[in-house]
């Protein structure tokens, strides 16, 4: 039979694991995430919301180059893919200096690309895609 001490020990061991599993889901319900999600809904069209939800990324048309599209991932920390004429040509790593909720980061990318593309590209770390064709779907 387990003593109280043993139970406490077990709880102490499994608590961090449980936290790691559920933390992303709990985060979605935080006030900050909800507010950021509201802003995201205000900024995106219904089609863009659908794309983000079902494809896991948001495509933003370049204002300066007709054949260029930026593919912004839903998940924070991912690379933004640059697609030119249907081919992935570059990956960009750009992040805000302060931590933001996930939805705000998507809005940030969209606004920077649409209205401040030059500055956005200047600040991004760029990784060229040399020889793999785009995994376009």
């Amino acid at each position: 039979m387990l003593t109280t001490l043993s139970w406490l020990l077990i709880i102490a061991v499994i608590s961090p694991v449980i936290w790691l599993i559920f933390q992303p889901y709990l985060k979605k319900w935080s006030r900050a995430e909800r507010r950021a999600a509201n802003l995201l809904r205000d900024v995106l069209t219904p089609e863009q919301c659908h794309q983000l939800l079902w494809h896991g990324y948001l495509e933003v048309q370049s204002p300066s180059a007709a054949g260029r599209v930026y593919r912004v991932p839903r998940v924070q920390g991912g690379f933004v893919q640059v697609i030119e004429d249907g081919r992935a040509v570059m990956r960009l790593c750009v992040q805000p200096v302060e931590r933001l909720p996930e939805a705000d980061v998507i809005v940030l990318h969209k606004l920077m690309i649409e209205a401040n593309e030059e500055h956005y590209l200047q600040n991004a770390n760029k990784y060229l895609c040399v020889d793999h064709p785009s995994p376009l779907s």
């Binding site: 006030r31 900050a32 909800r34 802003l39 750009v94 992040q95 805000p96 200096v97 920077m112 209205a115």
Partner: protein, 79 residues
């Protein structure tokens, strides 16, 4: 409305344009507060975008109290 992105989601300051035109002290104070936050965040390197319904976002350098919505995003760096 001014929306400032932060770790808390977005902080908002809103005002009624008609009341501002009419000189309502509370509305005028809200505009002054928004203007102060705008200047403070811009000094920290934030970029400001004017959002009007049905129009593409537009980067702005100066506070515009007639804008439907202004969004301030923090400075970005290469990751």
């Amino acid at each position: 409305m001014l929306r400032v992105m932060s770790r808390r989601g977005d902080d908002r300051v809103s005002w009624d344009k008609q009341k501002v035109s009419a000189g309502d002290p509370e509305a005028v104070a809200a505009v002054r507060e928004a203007e102060r936050i705008f200047a403070q965040e811009r000094a920290k390197g934030a970029t400001a975008f004017r959002m009007n319904p049905g129009k593409p976002a537009e980067r702005i350098e100066r506070f515009d109290q007639t804008a439907e919505q202004i969004v301030l995003v923090p400075r970005v760096v290469g990751g």
